[in-house]
């Protein structure tokens, strides 16, 4: 069982500097594909490199299969890493690159050959085995880097932004290959670092979203740990709500009027609005934030749900959909985005009425922490 436990892990690069990782508590189950995601500077690579053994752990304990790893050398942890820049040995052929790790470990030649051949078959590197890295394309180099990890048959695969150097088309293809690889290998856990939430949503069994800046010390590094659907439908805080989803969730300042078990009433932009959120525990009259995703807002002068009158500022037509940036008159300079069908034609300056349903509303308390939603949601 290749379970990975992070127990109250902290990382401080030098005394006097703020914590890079603060109080990280996670359990990654056997065979899970776990994605670390977050804005730049959130320490996601640092967290990965601590698992690899390339960074020291300031305090706390890292366990793989229940064994303490803190002091163990990288090569003895049963992990293999795929670097962002591939980091292939330029003077070795593809086959030698893949065999090098096993050779250092002292495996015998027949065994090395067998494992390298197997990995080459999985990754379709057969015809390239005698080439040097400089004679390979970016995508091929990436596959060799993955092959170098596979031959070691590690308990844990570590990927450090492996797709960020590839062009868009290749990125989608390699993303599928990595997902397939995870499915085929099955027994190994994978930790994958990315700043791209599409990669996170599509690949992950579990996502770890990390805080950045001051929030690291205030609330700990982990903003939310859960399935992709959890993070999308039940963001734990304004920070998570703003990161997951593209375009990001609209949030508006509001005042809580009343709270019941299944519904809360708030005042937004001078309107009474219903939200399917359990906001009991927050005093009536307190300032809160409500959130609504751009894809859950629609345009309509009549119909059900709450309505807000707005003015269109700017429109981005993507073909399949259009993004409308509107002025709600509240919420300061923050833009309010609406995602509508691509056939909708509007011109800037036009007035319109936006509507949304109570069951699509999110509600965050004064600290920016979410209250539980009371509707059935996909998991």
């Amino acid at each position: 069982m290749s379970r990975i436990d992070f127990k109250q892990i902290n990382k401080r690069y030098a005394p006097g500097l703020p914590l890079t990782i603060s109080n990280a508590n996670l359990t990654i189950d056997h065979g899970d594909f776990c994605v670390f995601v977050g804005p730049s500077g959130c320490g996601k690579s640092t967290l990965l490199r601590m698992v690899a053994g390339l960074e020291d752990i300031t305090s706390g304990e890292l366990q793989i299969e229940g064994k303490r790893m803190n002091e163990l050398a990288p090569a003895q942890r049963g992990v293999a890493m795929v670097f962002q820049s591939y980091a292939l040995y330029p003077h070795m052929t593809v086959a030698e690159n893949m065999a090098f790790g096993l050779r250092v470990m002292g495996s015998n030649k027949a065994e090395i050959d067998k494992k390298v051949q197997e990995a080459a078959k999985i990754l379709q590197l057969g015809p390239l085995m005698d080439r040097l890295p400089k004679a390979l394309s970016g995508g091929q180099r990436q596959r060799v880097a993955i092959g170098r990890a596979i031959v070691k048959q590690p308990k844990v695969f570590l990927f450090d932004e492996p797709l960020s150097n590839l062009d868009a088309a290749l990125r989608v293809q390699t993303r599928l290959e990595i997902a397939k690889l995870h499915h085929d290998i099955g027994s190994a856990s994978m930790i994958y670092v990315t700043h791209d939430q599409v990669e996170a949503m599509t690949l992950a069994d579990k996502i770890v979203l990390l805080h950045t800046g001051k929030l690291i010390e205030e609330r700990g590094s982990v903003a939310q740990f859960g399935t992709p659907m959890d993070l999308y439908h039940r963001p734990a805080s304004l920070f998570v709500a703003g990161f997951i989803g593209s375009p990001k969730m609209n949030t508006l300042p509001a005042k809580l009027l009343s709270a019941e078990a299944s519904y809360a009433e708030v005042e937004v932009a001078g309107q009474r609005v219903k939200a399917a959120v359990d906001a009991r525990g927050i005093a009536a009259g307190s300032a809160v934030h409500v959130g609504i995703r751009p894809e859950h807002v629609f345009i309509g002068d009549t119909g059900e749900g709450s309505s807000v009158k707005v003015k269109l500022q700017h429109i981005e037509r993507l073909g399949d959909a259009s993004l409308l940036y509107v002025d709600t008159g509240v919420g300061g300079t923050e833009t309010f985005t609406v995602r509508v069908e691509g056939s909708v034609v509007k011109s800037p300056g036009e007035a319109m009425t936006l509507r949304w349903l109570p069951e699509h509303m999110h509600l965050f308390d004064g600290q920016g922490l979410a209250r539980p939603r009371t509707v059935q949601l996909p998991t």
């Binding site: 591939y86 292939l88 003077h91 004679a135 170098r148």
Partner: protein, 278 residues
């Protein structure tokens, strides 16, 4: 874009002129070394009666064991290169890849060593060479020669070492390599151009060195070739044996030319191509 043919022609003419200018002294040395007797005073480039007598006498006069001196030089220079490159690579790994306090100061200190002219360190060096029992031994020259080979070896290799991608080292660490294996199996193959050029420069510097060789070695059997050439004497005190001196010069130049020709193909850039996304 098509090059102007006149421009190209001028370029080639200039190249030929520069080549002739730099090769001419050597050609003239070869020509002189093939002349004997009063022929020496004939300025023509092509000797009338070419003879290898000068070369033969170089290796046959018992008081001046030129062959022995040549072997001494080869031994000393090779030892200097091997030691300098070994110390240079290991020092460069520490200075280029590991963070520690006082690194910049240490690098400046290394460079400062090469600041002093040889004459300034001669007296002190003499005492040290004697105290270590290296006086009058050809091999004892290896130590003083490192004064001028190590600073540039360390500096050049440190610069190259710093340019190697960090991920490469980390990948090697993940593959289970210790520092020696990282240096030997991952970094050294990538440092070939730097190793060859610094090694060649160190070899040439040690090969040509005169002052230390003259001061620290007085035993006739232990001399190196630069001193040996300066001591070549003619039949009488008033005769300068130009023919023999030129023959010796040609003999000591040839190994350097061969070395450079053999290793120049190793001095190619782009060895790290393909390691990381550029």
């Amino acid at each position: 874009m098509k090059q102007n043919p006149w421009y190209l022609a001028m370029l080639y003419v200039a190249a030929v002129v520069v080549s002739l200018f730099s090769i001419f002294p050597f050609v003239y040395a070869i020509s002189t070394s093939l002349k004997t007797g009063s022929e020496l005073f004939n300025p023509s480039l092509w000797p009338n009666n070419a003879s290898v007598a000068n070369y033969i006498s170089l290796f046959t006069v018992a008081e001046q064991p030129f062959g022995r001196h040549l072997l001494n030089s080869i031994m000393v220079s090779t030892a200097v290169v091997v030691l300098s490159v070994f110390l240079g690579v290991t020092a460069a790994y520490a200075l280029g890849r590991i963070h520690f306090k006082g690194k910049a100061l240490l690098l400046i200190t290394v460079l400062a060593v090469s600041m002093f002219p040889q004459v300034a360190v001669l007296a002190g060096m003499f005492e040290m060479v004697r105290a270590l029992g290296l006086y009058n031994r050809a091999f004892g020259l290896v130590l003083p020669y490192m004064i001028f080979t190590l600073p540039f070896t360390v500096w050049v290799l440190t610069t190259f070492m710093k340019q190697l991608p960090k991920e490469l080292e980390e990948a090697a660490i993940m593959d289970g390599c210790g520092p020696w294996r990282i240096i030997g199996e991952v970094f050294m193959p990538l440092l070939w151009p730097a190793l060859v050029s610094t090694g060649l420069l160190a070899f040439i510097a040690a090969w040509n060195e005169f002052l230390f060789a003259l001061t620290f070695v007085t035993d006739n059997d232990q001399r190196t070739v630069p001193v040996s050439i300066s001591l070549i004497s003619g039949a009488s005190a008033f005769e300068i044996p130009w023919g023999k001196i030129m023959a010796a010069s040609v003999v000591v130049t040839v190994p350097l030319i061969i070395l450079v020709l053999v290793f120049q193909r190793k001095i190619v850039s782009g060895l790290t191509a393909g390691a990381v996304k550029g």
